[in-house]
């Protein structure tokens, strides 16, 4: 079933400079990575989905509702967007209040909102920071507070704008956990990513934006095997893919385990 339908959408911030040039996409529940050069229109695209911007042409449907006619607030229970810059999102004086704000605003009672906020904070590993001022946290933690704030609203559609910025190994694991949880619940997760390794490992579909158009849309193995296209779009193949090809493999490997298995398999026939 289509969760998000995008029909021939155009958008420009200033006249004569089209940022999106006729995007048509259909999203079911498959987790989707959006990749592309800086300025390709990725963030603009997700702001349109979230209703923060309205298309200059074309239509967007979120769970069957026309987003063109709805405010961002009316869309909030269904679709959540974690901003790229956490300082654009954070405004309360404690982490717990920050994370409770969303659920309270979509009609949750205080007790329920608190429970959801606490669960979301646990998921991202910030339970101990609940009473701190979010502005005092480091960038990576602020980003996780923003993720938790949206997770606590339990939207059907979750969009993460560059979630892996500033994250260390533990932070990456927390983001991975959030994505997995949404997938298990059959919910749609979209992520804008510059980390190709992370995109290859964690998403079922990859959409490539280039200068306001979609130039590829397929499963990760297919997209990451198209090197010249990625090159043109300002991207690179994942490190593990590159290593596999450099070793003469024809396949497109997406994870360490896949390549190691291949290297072991051939190694053993030699012996």
């Amino acid at each position: 079933m289509s969760r998000v339908v995008v029909k021939d959408v155009c958008f420009s911030y200033r006249s004569g400079e089209e940022v999106l040039k006729g995007i048509t996409l259909d999203f079911d529940e498959k987790s989707t990575a959006i990749i592309g050069q800086n300025g390709a229109g990725k963030t603009t695209f997700v702001k349109l989905l979230k209703g923060l911007l309205k298309p200059t042409r074309g239509e967007i449907y979120i769970l069957g509702r026309s987003a063109n006619e709805m405010t961002a607030a009316a869309l909030a229970p269904f679709i959540g967007l974690v901003f790229q810059n956490p300082n654009d999102q954070i405004f309360r004086s404690t982490v717990l209040e920050e994370v409770m704000f969303g659920p309270l605003n979509i009609g949750e009672d205080p007790k329920g909102a608190r429970k959801k906020a606490e669960e979301a904070l646990e998921m991202v590993g910030l339970t101990e920071k609940a009473s701190e001022n979010p502005h005092d946290l480091r960038l990576s933690e602020k980003k996780l507070v923003c993720v938790a704030s949206i997770v606590a609203m339990e939207p059907e559609i979750l969009i993460l704008d560059e979630p892996t910025i500033a994250q260390d190994h533990a932070g990456m694991a927390a983001i991975r956990q959030v994505i997995r949880r949404f997938k298990e619940q059959g919910k749609l997760v979209m992520g804008i990513l510059h980390d190709m390794d992370f995109a290859a490992e964690n998403f079922e579909r990859v959409v490539v934006f280039h200068q306001g158009t979609v130039v590829a849309d397929d499963d990760p193995r297919e997209v990451f095997s198209r090197e010249s296209l990625l090159q043109r779009a300002g991207l690179e193949v994942p490190h593990i893919t590159r290593l596999g090809w450099s070793l003469g493999r024809k396949e497109t490997f997406l994870t360490e385990a896949e390549l190691i298995q291949s290297l072991r398999g051939e190694g053993s026939t030699d012996r």
Binding site: Y13, I35, G36, Q37, N38, G39, A40, T43, Q84, N85, N87, D136, R138, L139, S140, E141, E162, I165, A166, Q167, D168, H169, A170, G171, H194, M196, D197, Q231, G234, L235, E236, H239, I240, R242, L243, S246, L247, G248, E256, L259, I260, L263, R264, E266, G267
Partner: protein, 279 residues
């Protein structure tokens, strides 16, 4: 002669009871590129700020030991004196934008104006920095109308225009697309070849392995290791410090593939190919 000398540096933020930097001593030579790694909270950003004097002059707090950069002792020098020798690119580019300028071009000029650089030279340096970062076409944009990645490029250009002797980069390309990030690293590499000393805090271990000649592993404000990338990334206990080595090292470790006679695992694509080819 060493470009940076740190002796028993200890530092505690005013609101904290724990040392953020706990007795660090090391030296960095001119033209080195040092990668600082470690989990978030290990002290990477704090150490970066200690090179430019924001620790302790801006943040205050308790400070002990000595940091000498380009012959200036940080504790006894003002931030503006230090700014002539050491430039820093902050982790979050939004933090770096002055907010007092209407165009990218003027934003890059800001530091130069404050140093009183002559107009002609200013123009040359701004043009060079914008071109180096591929930002010429956005020169008339408002700084806050840029995308995150463009803002990050502008922040780097602003600091490079100052021509510091030491360049401190705190996750400088986190919001750049893969090719853009690689371009920035190549640009920094060129500056290093011209003699600039570079300090880089970064989570992208593949980049660290490729571009840094030494790696400092921090944890809990202490130096755990400070050695070649191959040596640090070959440590069996890295994950204990919240760090995962480059993917090349992980694959080679799993297959126990080392170059003949070397105690270390490969850390770059080329090295990994060399030991794995024929498999």
């Amino acid at each position: 002669m060493s470009k940076i000398r740190v002796e028993h540096l200890k530092y505690r933020y005013p609101s904290s009871e724990k040392l953020a930097l706990d007795d660090l001593s090391f030296e960095v030579d001119e033209g080195e590129m040092i990668g600082i790694i470690g989990r978030n909270g290990a002290g990477k950003s704090t150490l970066c700020q200690a090179f430019v004097g924001l620790v302790p002059h801006f943040y205050r707090g308790a400070y002990g030991g000595k940091v000498v950069v380009s012959g200036l002792e940080v504790l006894k020098s003002s931030v503006s004196q230090l700014a002539r020798r050491v430039g820093i690119v902050f982790q979050n580019p939004f933090t770096q934008v002055t907010g007092s300028k209407w165009t990218v071009y003027e934003e890059v000029a800001f530091g130069l104006e404050n140093l009183g650089v002559p107009r002609k030279e200013m123009i040359d340096r701004i043009d060079y920095a914008l071109q180096l970062l591929g930002m010429e076409k956005y020169r008339d944009r408002h700084p806050f109308d840029l995308s995150g990645g463009q803002m990050q490029r502008m922040a780097i250009a602003s600091v490079i225009a100052l021509q510091p002797e030491i360049l401190v980069l705190d996750e400088p390309t986190s919001q750049l697309d893969p090719q853009g990030s690689e371009e920035v690293f190549r640009a920094v590499h060129r500056l290093r070849e011209e003699g600039m000393t570079v300090i880089l805090a970064e989570h992208n271990m593949e980049k660290i392995a490729r571009y840094c000649n030494r790696v400092m592993l921090l944890d809990g404000g202490k130096i755990i290791d400070f050695a070649s990338p191959a040596s640090v990334f070959s440590r069996a206990d890295l994950t204990r410090y919240g760090v995962v080595p480059p993917v090349y090292t992980r694959v080679c470790r799993e297959l126990n593939a080392k170059r003949e006679g070397s105690p270390h695992f490969p850390v770059t694509l080329e090295e990994a190919c060399e030991v794995l080819k024929g498999r």
